[in-house]
């Protein structure tokens, strides 16, 4: 087994590096700033693994070294079965040991009490894991993978087994570990001891669960309010989405193209922008409020700040998503069904009610659940419009950053929010799966869709036209708002906001970015650019494994991944700061945590796009490549990736754009050094600097339109002229981008 030895050699080399030439523990100033080599071997903090064991007295690490050496000795065995077993065993013990020692031994010694009583106190603790420790952990994971491959797992394909192991490892570390830490955090005191008081107190808090709005005429608990809002937003956006979809597909509406443009809006709009625009219209000093005051003497009130305002903003935000989902549903109803109904003497009205609408039912339910989950997860709009009537996601935020810092309360609220969204997600998966009546068969389905009954078409026009007008006004406000001095007070036009945010001056012949926005703008660009390719790579690799490989536990793997997408950003944010603030993994305040957050939150895009695109590629193409002496890595690179180019582009653009517009998780993770555009804008809004906030938002929208248009142009130029299958993919992937918002 020559190739088996080759990859083991690589691992051994890597391991020697991990123990000898990089710091074992976390470098305070950042590993990638590469300031550490100058002090390496001098400073004890930077000592590599070997020195940590023999010079610094961290003897427990010797066990990791021993396991690594024993596993490595498999290199010199010849019986594939035996060495496979040795690798799997040492790898499993190794990774378990790395995790345990990381969790159990913290800065000052034992982090838990029971080892202290059994083994006695440790003379010294350890900082968070650094390059050496992380590489060693990865090596143990790969030990397992290569061992399994040598024993014939996944047809002996080391690349595939390795990918699966690494993906499971990453998902565990970046999704399940943080969520677990959050659960643990809810029953822990500040010093880490078990103290469920906070958990119990918060779980019973009437501010969360009270039903006073039904019985006492008072306000309901925040959990019920959020649920109520989510149901209303789901209903509102589904109704509007259906109306839009009907207009776009079943009427002779002249501006259908423009209607479809609407679907791009949710992708490029930062989530709080709608709320911001509504403030400019209906807030106390908003245009409409002021107008009504002067014209009719209607007193300005604060009606916008509360559930009503959030509801309007959410329906505005989510209608395009629901529209996108429902276009597919409405078009999916086979015309021949409707024609059959008409030949059976049913008039248009009866055809619509008895045939078309029932066929759309599962699609409508799906759209509703998507709106529901989106509303639950929404953070931007409630933050801008919520005022004191918060919802779960904002309450979580204020429980951490507000005056009453209560991590236990934040964790409890996050658990409640999570259980709502996961229930909706499970409902979507279990109840709706296999209930899709949409009848697109791929065989040419001839015939024309029945027109809408007259009264219905009048109704949908009556809904759609005003709403479109409203949407245009709202987006107009966003573009226009940045040029107005102070809303309501001084409506003169000015470039002042743009100048303050984006001014550039020349000093000593060099360009100086003097605008206040530049700092966060460039950070955002940098982090979005780093995370986009990583997101696409991880997502597509996952898709490849889900579509093309069969292995025990695959369904569980896929389900766990998909489920992680139903976790609201706020929950991710709170769990990340709870998990990655202390050893063994310490990342808060770094760019790394932002990148990790984006990669694992936006991965669904790559996964879903990849799954859809890859299922259209005939499996025999991979198999042909395999029988032509190409291993699966080469197959992926030479055959699958080139054929997936449109999907890759879509994943890249989308993850880039999402990294720019995301707020809910980001707001927990930003630091002074790494501030993102969205959280900076939210900060501006909180300070009442609406002008700059709006100016900055429109700038972001402009940048994103440029990026999307640019990519679209590039892909359009290089469109494969070859098989139908491929070009069909290129077309549909555009639509798919937007559907990902539904995750």
């Amino acid at each position: 087994m020559l190739s088996g030895n080759k990859r083991l050699n690589a691992l051994l080399g890597l391991g020697i590096g991990a123990f000898l030439i990089v710091p074992w523990y976390r470098v305070d100033r950042g590993f990638f700033s590469f300031e550490w080599p100058s002090d390496f071997l001098v400073s004890s903090d930077l000592a590599p693994g070997l020195l940590q064991i023999f010079a610094e007295g961290r003897v427990w690490l010797a066990l990791a070294l021993a396991l690594f050496l024993i596993g490595g000795s498999a290199r010199f065995m010849t019986d594939a079965n035996k060495r496979g077993r040795l690798l799997v065993v040492t790898g499993s013990i190794g990774i378990l040991f790395m995790a345990l020692q990381g969790l159990a031994i913290s800065f000052t010694g034992w982090a838990w009490t029971f080892p202290e009583t059994t083994f006695g106190a440790l003379p010294l603790g350890q900082p968070a894991m650094g390059a050496g420790a992380i590489v060693t952990s990865l090596i143990f994971v790969l030990f397992i993978a290569f061992g399994l491959a040598e024993r014939g797992f996944m047809k002996g394909d080391a690349f595939v087994v390795g990918s699966i192991s690494i993906l499971i490892f990453l998902v565990t570390v970046f999704i399940f570990y943080p969520i677990g830490s959050m659960f643990a955090g809810s029953v822990q005191d500040f010093d880490g001891s078990f103290k469920p008081d906070g958990f119990i107190r918060n779980m019973q808090d009437p501010a969360i669960w009270s039903l006073d709005c039904v019985f006492g005429g008072n306000r309901c608990g925040v959990a019920w309010r959020t649920l109520f809002l989510a149901v209303l937003s789901g209903l509102g956006s589904t109704t509007l989405g259906l109306a839009f979809a009907l207009v776009a597909t079943r009427t002779r509406f002249p501006f259908k193209k423009g209607l479809r443009l609407l679907t791009v809006l949710p992708i490029i709009t930062p989530p709080f922008v709608i709320g911001l625009a509504l403030t400019l219209l209906f807030g106390r000093s908003g245009v409409v409020t002021q107008g009504l005051d002067t014209l009719f003497g209607i007193e300005p009130s604060r009606w916008l700040y509360g559930l009503t305002g959030i509801w309007i903003a959410q329906v505005l935000s989510f209608t395009p998503i629901s529209f996108l989902v429902l276009i597919g549903v409405v078009e999916g109803v086979s015309p021949s069904m409707e024609e059959a109904s008409q030949t059976l003497r049913a008039d248009r009205w009866r055809t619509f009610w008895r045939v078309s609408l029932p066929l759309m039912k599962p699609g409508l339910a799906n759209a509703f659940l998507i709106g529901f989950i989106e509303s639950m997860a929404d953070f931007g709009n409630p933050l801008v419009l919520g005022g004191s009537h918060g919802v779960l996601s904002t309450e979580i935020f204020f429980a951490v950053v507000g005056s009453q810092v209560d991590p236990s309360r934040a964790a409890v609220l996050a658990i409640i929010l999570l259980s709502f969204t996961l229930t909706a997600f499970l409902a979507q998966r279990m109840w709706l799966s296999g209930k899709n009546f949409a009848t697109v068969t791929g065989k040419g389905d001839s015939g024309a869709h029945a027109g809408l009954p007259k009264s219905l078409s009048l109704t949908v026009y009556g809904i759609v036209l005003p709403w479109m007008g409203f949407t245009i006004v709202v987006y107009g406000m966003i573009l226009f708002g940045g040029f107005v001095k102070t809303w309501g007070l001084d409506n003169s036009l000015t470039l002042e906001h743009y100048a303050r945010a984006f001014s550039v001056t020349f000093q000593d012949g060099a360009l100086v970015w003097t605008g206040v926005a530049w700092n966060s703008f460039w950070t955002t660009m940098e982090i979005a650019l780093i995370s986009a390719p990583l997101t696409a790579a991880v997502g597509l690799l996952t898709a490849y494994i889900i579509v093309r490989q069969k292995f025990a536990g695959k369904n569980a793997f896929e389900f766990a991944l998909m489920m992680s997408f139903a976790i609201p950003g706020t929950v991710i944010g709170i769990s990340y700061i709870m998990a990655f603030n202390l050893p063994p993994i310490e990342m808060t305040g770094s760019a790394l945590i932002l990148v990790a957050c984006f990669v694992f939150r936006n991965m669904p895009v790559g996964v879903r796009g990849g799954i859809a695109a890859m299922s259209q590629l005939d499996k025999s193409l991979d198999e042909a490549s395999l029988t032509l002496r190409a291993n699966s890595a080469r197959t992926l690179r030479k055959v699958i990736l080139p054929l997936l180019r449109p999907a890759i582009t879509a994943a890249l653009v989308y993850s880039f754009v999402r990294a720019i517009t995301s707020i809910s998780a980001v707001i927990f993770l930003v630091s002074a050094e790494y501030n993102m555009a969205t959280s900076y804008i939210v900060g501006l809004v909180e300070n009442g600097e609406y002008g700059i906030a709006i100016a900055y938002s429109s700038m972001l929208i402009f940048v994103m339109i440029t990026v999307i248009a640019g990519f679209q142009f590039l892909v359009g130029e290089r469109r494969l002229r070859r098989e139908n299958r491929v070009s069909g993919m290129a077309k549909s992937s555009k639509i798919r981008i937007a559907q990902e918002k539904t995750a």
Binding site: K155, E623, L626, T627, L628, R629, E723, V726
Partner: protein
Amino acid sequence: MTDLKPGSVVFENVRKDFGTFTAIPDLSITIEPGTLVTLLGPSGCGKTTTLRMLAGLEHPTSGRILIGGRDVTMVPAHERDVSMVFQSYALFPHMNALDNVAYGLESSGYKKREARERAEEGLTQVGLSGMGHRLPAELSGGQQQRVAVARALVLNPQVLLLDEPLSNLDARLRRRVRTEIRELQQRLGFTAVYVTHDQDEALAVSDRIVVMKDGKIAQEGAPRELYEEPVSEFIADFMGEANVVSCEIVGRDGDDALIDVGGLQHRLRARQATSGQAKLAVRPGSVMLNPEGAAGLGGEILTAAYLGDHVEYEIETPVGNFFVIDHSVERSFAPRTAVSLGFRNRGLALIEA
């Protein structure tokens, strides 16, 4: 394509489960180097699974597979010395014909230039020289098929695997291409394993045929053996149609047996049959029809269909219904006519009861 080294193939007690479903319970096959062996059987019989295990695209649950004497049971597909022609051809749509053929060579570590030269040579071998720059979509079905063959052959595999290579061609082309494949195999002398469900194709190209049913070998032998001496009703019916009726062995004479079918006496090779009740397989073309009153088995025509060069009859007799192909078109019988049936000397076989 000069240094071919045909290899043998051995399956030793191979078993393959998919979850709880057992596709192949226990399969042992030996294939001699340089022969073309066909795996034949209805869909779901395990023939494709067998081929895919040979290619390394599936791994057996238990048992061993040897190629050219080397145990490859756990060797991944890309490290095996076999190559495969796929039913759908599986040409890479984003590469032209030459790149498709060169792909395997480059994967095996040839320098780009040499890979291209050999690929060019391979295309010439299948009569496609100068077509290398075309994309698969710009080639006809037959040409795509030849590119797929060239792509597999340039690797000089010990064994070439063909998975229903003709099923995407129209009937006329199919006949021509199968002759070409057989010619190429004879000329270059490689070992080939050929999967099909079409018995004509199998009869035309094979040195040996392995007929499979439910993951087991139903019968194995040379084409003529299978057609003329089917061991079971399944084989008799699968290798060209057959009427299976019960008969009685009334006497033995050396290798021959005397049988009685509803009063009609006939003499044929006994094979393993001894005496008593037996089953007789009769090819539709081996029945002679005479007007009523002649000696033989009496029957009545149920349906008659005129098909140009022959007439097909469904005939009811005391021992069961017969499907008969009669080439004497000028003298046809109308339905509900009584006839007398006799047997020719060829096309009859005693099979397992």
